[in-house]
Amino acid sequence: MTASGTEAEPAAGVVAPDVADEFPALRLRYLELDARPGRSSRGVKHRLKDMSSRFRGPQAVAMRQEPIPWAYRVFYRHIGLDPDADRTPVEEAAVQRLIQGAFRSHNRLDDALLVGLVETGVPIWALDSATVDGKLSIRLTGTAERLGRDARAPALVSGRLVVADERSPLAVLFGDLAPGHGVTSGTTRMTLFTVQVQGVPEIHVEEALYTCVAILTEE
């Protein structure tokens, strides 16, 4: 689970039995790595530029027919989300590419997540490892739970699908991260996690994670 360069093996998160019964192919994969946020290298910016010139309107329109974006759209339907209103991460990235005219570089972390997402179709989120306690899991919220342990943590409706550690929910599934648990300028170690749904091959998930790790750990 601990990453040194790109040698880490992603760990398998726990999927609660009541969720696994309904979605036997649902998986949570995560890994930790030593990485600090900062500015993107010239190479990453160049990579984003290349991706921008390869990705145009026709690809965006045809995207929902491709196997991986389609798999996430279907999963969105299955969990009660409308993928045309709350876009899947890869479709949101495509729309932003068309609106902004390019995949814009923001910082090393956001760029790493974006490159991983656009190249594989698999979304990845990052947490500050210092705020993660124990193994990650996908589960349903109980009564009176909050999103995170911060003072600003919003209350969650019971029965909501979340990614949680052993103490509290840390992110709504395909939604917001808990306040106070995201990566900040003081972060020295990150936990990257991704959600694999039915129809998404293992190799794409690993590729997405390793792409992010490679960018985040490059000198």
């Binding site: 009541d18 969720v19 019964d21 309904e22 329109v61 045809a62 929902r64 027919q65 389609w70 759209r73 279907v74 969105y76 339907r77 299955h78 969990i79 009660g80 989300l81 409308d82 045309d84 209103a85 709350d86 349903l140 029965g159 909501r160 699908l161 709504v172 599934l173 395909f174 939604g175």
Partner: protein
Amino acid sequence: MELLEQDIAGPQEQSAALAVALPAVVETDELAARRSLRDQIAKLERELASAFLAAYPRAHVNWSVPGRGGPRLLGLGELERLRDELADRLRSARAAIAERAEFEERNRVLLERMRLEPGRHKFVRIAAVDVGEYGCGTYSVRPRLGIVGMLMGWWQVKLSSGCPLARGPGRDARGSTIPAP
């Protein structure tokens, strides 16, 4: 004789035994039903994606099927309603695509007639998108050489030059400046 001596449960005892066994059976059946509905939803989503591609960008269809306040686990009834709504949306999308295709076909026939007999279709205009083509061009029947062609009956089909430039201010028919988009 042994059969007659067997202790056969009465109706009340049988229903009690059923009640114990039933929840597990119902639970399993519901789980299987939910999985089957999810498969149907996946299939409908694929067909909707194909319809979206077939319709883009000409047919105007509402593709959105409202969410169910997720992310959460949906019950059997909710999945059924979602499946039905997706099926309705697909049906209306296909109807809109068919209607649009028929409209374009009619326009293609008209365009063909305009080309064959321009004199009988004076000043008729058809947008290129309305015959299933991309772009902003317009087919129109106009006289060759202006007023001379009009008097002599020399008519032809012209295709306009296409989309206006996306950048820079332009001028409208009165000469006023149009700001850049």
